[in-house]
């Protein structure tokens, strides 16, 4: 077979700040993945596995190689509404899953900020939600998966069977093999609603204290941080907690669990189609505009509120304004997320936020969460907090932003922090080596050699992190 130059396509990251061209194949079966591995070997090319392509960085890009877009492997293979156990192909999205299971009174145990992500992608990154402290990452809810390794072997893994591979492939960045079916346990819910409480916090110390205090008590805890606030207000924001309703608490549970009830509105104020809303955000996507928006948001949130909100509306904030990431302009955005232990978080983030103000490169959005350690090999988790900061990329700010993020990395490493491979786009191999540790990297490399003896699976993230 000759080289399919006409399959070349330009793929992007979630933030539209990075593009990479690759031969794009869309396999629909395990046999077709196997065939792609064979062809890749014949052509001397590498293969990357891609779900919905919603990582903020180069995790699903493979410039000049093959990319297998697994979104067409999107069948839910089995769903048991009695036990809450679901088996699905890797290209099934969280949207497909909740829409299937919620009418039966179940919800996903862990979700990302958008429902467009695929199960395969979520497992490869071992995503977390606003319930990380209580529920752990998504991998802790996986009962079993099957995978096709580039070596040609098909394996079944569970916490007890092939446990080393189970804990390495989940969070393994798609570098060890392709998930072919995933079996997960879902979470029973007694209502389509959550009890939500929101209140504001005036500075970083109270912000982190509130998260630390409430995360153990509530099913979900998340903080919005105003990254433009300075001085005494540095780190101010708003805390949201949410709790499932107990059985009987929602008299209309059957109604609130219906899809019609959960669907996000398609227009704003009843008339403005949401699809064009991001255009109206564009004028505010600059340092002063964002300061104005963040300040207004903080002031408006001043009064504590309690209300009930549907699962979809609470969880999938990123889907609320479609294509919001386009509002960042032609060079897109990046996210910088750091995970820090409880003891050192406040001091390190104070330094980071101050540095961003000094350099005139403030983040436009900040999100805080509480985390706890897990047992996965390439884990990003710590017993502490995470802060995710979104930065606008422009032709002029690339170099100073890169330099500033390198300084952030040094601050985070010195404070005993870690990073998440679905987010940061500039983490160097040296930084990764420092927070993962030599032993972890050696173990991962050994597994890589076993699963992928020809080195077929690679992404641009892999080259960046594990390139020596």
């Amino acid at each position: 077979m000759t080289i399919p130059f006409n399959t070349f396509a330009s793929l992007q990251n979630f933030g539209h700040s990075l593009r990479a061209g690759a031969y794009l194949f869309c396999p629909q079966s395990v046999e077709e993945i196997e065939q792609a591995f064979r062809l890749a070997k014949e052509w001397g090319l590498t293969v990357a596995l891609r779900g919905a392509g919603l990582s903020y960085n180069d995790a699903a890009l493979n410039g000049g190689g093959i990319v297998l877009d697994l979104q067409r492997m999107n069948r839910i293979l089995a769903w048991d509404s009695e036990s809450g156990v679901l088996t699905a192909e890797p290209g099934v999205t969280l949207e497909q899953v909740w829409q299937r299971i919620l009418p039966d009174g179940w919800w996903l145990p862990v979700v990302s900020g958008t429902m467009k992500t695929t199960l395969g992608g979520c497992l490869a990154m071992n995503i977390h939600g606003k319930n990380n402290y209580r529920a752990g990452p998504i991998g802790e809810h996986v009962l079993e998966f099957t995978a096709l390794l580039p070596s040609g072997a098909e394996v079944t893994c569970s916490p007890t069977k092939n446990g080393d591979l189970f804990h390495a492939m989940i969070g393994g960045l798609g570098l060890l093999g392709a998930f072919t079916s995933i079996t997960m346990r879902m979470k029973k819910v007694h209502s389509g609603l959550l009890n939500v409480r929101a209140w504001s916090v005036p500075n970083l110390a109270t912000h982190l204290e509130a998260i630390a205090e409430h995360a153990p008590q509530h099913d979900y805890t998340v903080g919005w941080l105003d990254p433009t606030a300075r001085g005494r207000s540095l780190g101010r924001g708003q805390i949201h907690t949410a709790d499932y309703l107990a059985e009987g608490e929602d008299a209309h549970a059957a109604h609130t669990c219906r899809l019609e009830y959960q669907t996000l509105p398609s227009t704003f104020f009843g008339v403005i189609p949401k699809g064009i809303l991001y255009h109206f955000m564009k004028p505010f996507m600059n340092n002063s505009g964002v300061w104005l928006v963040n300040t207004a948001k903080y002031l408006l949130a001043h009064r504590a509120r309690s209300y009930r909100q549907s699962h979809a509306a609470f969880h999938f904030l990123l889907d609320y304004v479609p294509n919001w990431e386009l509002a960042y302009g032609r060079d897109g955005l990046i996210q910088y997320q750091s995970f820090l232990p409880v003891a050192s978080a406040q001091e390190a983030w104070r330094e980071i936020l101050r540095l961003s103000h000094q350099r005139g490169l403030p983040a436009y959005l900040g999100v805080t969460k509480r985390h706890r350690p897990d047992k996965f090999l390439l884990t990003y988790a710590v017993d502490g907090f995470s802060l995710a900061l979104d930065f606008k990329v422009t032709a002029a700010n690339r170099a100073p932003l890169q330099q500033m993020l390198a300084e952030f990395d040094r601050i985070v490493l010195a404070a005993g922090g870690r990073f998440y491979f679905a987010k940061n786009s500039e983490t160097s191999a040296e930084t990764a080596r420092r927070f993962l540790g030599e032993e972890t990297i050696a173990r991962f490399r050994a597994l890589k050699k076993r699963c992928d003896p020809y080195g077929l699976l690679a992404t641009d993230l892999y080259r960046r992190i594990f390139g020596d």
Binding site: T2, N6, A20, G21, A22, G44, L45, N57, G455, R464
Partner: protein, 262 residues
């Protein structure tokens, strides 16, 4: 391992690192373009027949950049069957492609009364057929990606058929027409196609030209070509004043032109 860690680093959102492929990079305009694009931050794949000259150029560029910024691929453009595999390797090594420049060119002087098929075929193979072999697959890639810049180095000599160089004129004219067709196909796909028509440039090729004027250095030519790439121009004469001269020459009626001796 298929992937070789000694390759240049891949782009990140904050370090975009555009990538260019130059075919015919070992000397003249090709080498000058390589130096200039490397200085602009491009990662380069350099293709040419003369491996030793390529190796020197790579060493020079990488030393100046302080990192791996140029990769070399010795190749004779008349070996068209090698192109698909070589291009596949280049794409994998660079991690994609943003700009492809076909510079390879051959001028064999012919006498006024000489009709030598071997010479003419050799020039056609390098100037035109080699361009087809490289630019067709590159066009397919850029079409799929919806972006990219294709640059072909033609010549003012391609604007008319003259008594002095029938096959050279024809090969460059063929290249111009081919590039025009590519442009018409690909502009709607977001791909930029640039035709460059240099006048006299101080390169190895110039030694065959008896009367020269307005001679520019390869560096000056490279600067003008890079400017045209950034401005997404369609056709440029280098230097620009050749545009006026060639407009006049193109409009000389045949009954006069066939009596001229240049």
């Amino acid at each position: 391992m298929i992937w070789n860690p000694s390759l240049p680093p891949r782009p990140t959102p904050l370090q975009p690192r555009p990538r260019a492929l130059i075919i015919g990079a070992s000397s003249g305009i090709g080498a000058a373009l390589a130096r200039r694009l490397a200085a602009e931050g491009y990662t380069l794949a350099l293709v040419a027949r003369r491996a030793d000259r390529l190796a020197d150029l790579r060493a020079e560029i990488n030393a100046a950049a302080g990192e791996v910024r140029a990769l070399i691929y010795p190749h004779d453009v008349t070996h068209t069957d090698e192109v698909p595999a070589l291009l596949r390797r280049i794409l994998a090594d660079l991690g994609g492609l943003d700009v492809c420049i076909y510079v390879a060119g051959l001028l064999i002087p012919v006498e006024r009364e000489e009709f030598d098929f071997a010479k003419d075929a050799a020039m056609t193979a390098v100037n035109y057929v080699g361009a087809l072999a490289w630019l067709n697959p590159v066009a397919a890639i850029f079409q799929g990606a919806g972006q990219g810049t294709i640059v072909g180095i033609g010549s003012v000599a391609g604007d008319r058929g003259r008594v002095g160089a029938p096959a050279y004129n024809a090969s460059k004219a063929a290249l111009h027409t081919y590039l025009e067709a590519l442009r018409n196909r690909l502009t709607r796909r977001g791909v930029h196609v640039l035709t460059v028509k240099p006048g006299f440039v101080r390169t190895d090729m110039l030694q065959h030209s008896p009367r020269t004027f307005w001679v520019i250095s390869p560096e000056e030519a490279a600067a003008a070509i890079c400017r045209a790439i950034h401005r997404r121009q369609q056709t440029v004469y280098v230097p620009a004043r050749w545009g006026i001269v060639m407009w006049l020459i193109r409009h000389i009626p045949s009954f006069i032109f066939r009596r001229l001796n240049f």
